[in-house]
Amino acid sequence: MEWLFYIAAAVALTATIRVITHLHAVHALLYFVVSVLALALIFYLLGAAFAAALEVIVYAGAIMVLFVFVVMLLNQGPLTVEQERRWLSPGIWIGPSALALVLLGEVFVIIAGGGLGSADPVPIRPKEVSISLYGPYVIAVELASLLLLPGLIGAYHLGRRRAKERG
């Protein structure tokens, strides 16, 4: 099933090129979501099903929603209504939708074929990842918690100062 990988790679590259060349932030975000979905499919084809699920849930789900929130927060001018009318014209959705449909077709092919073939890389199951994560890499988990706490405090601090200034 190597051709699935090449199609997904082409979709990922196309979407990434559109991300860095697009002028509207929301459209660039749409293309970036498609690029992340293509990468998730590639992760699955490389035998990392758990990483693929995390890529869809955390990257395309959580991080991109943060981006969309900020882009929407930043556009609070008198021109916003006109701008959003332009953004919501139906033609914009064609590009990302076509790329996403290609990925959906690949997923259907994989489901119809009953999973990965024998020629593909050996799948690494979540059990092995977990044993490795909480065995030799347990210090990295502690470091990740050390990273997340300053991230939480920093985001809270940066969001809070503005509320104080306004009030």
């Binding site: 991080i63 690494i124 092995e128 997340l148 985001a155 100062r161």
Partner: protein
Amino acid sequence: MVTVHALILAVAMFSLGLVGLLVRRNVIYMLLSIEIMLNSASLAFIAAGARWGQADGQVMYLMILTLAAAEVSVALGIVLQLSYRFRTLDADAFSEMRG
């Protein structure tokens, strides 16, 4: 063979992210380019892990995911602050430090 081509794809996506970071002057796009580069790094880790059949690549992927989540939450807070103070998102306008 697929893993080698996945590494080539990771290199191509990293270069695209780097070009985007250098070319674009809008802070949102610069953040998106950084996300692209983080994504391609995680693809390189997963491909290497699949090549050797070890779980270490996916462990490093989880670390990159954590890093990206923490980085995005702080960076987007900074972007909001910049937009409220300078009324623009142009990276060249934030030059008060004369760096």
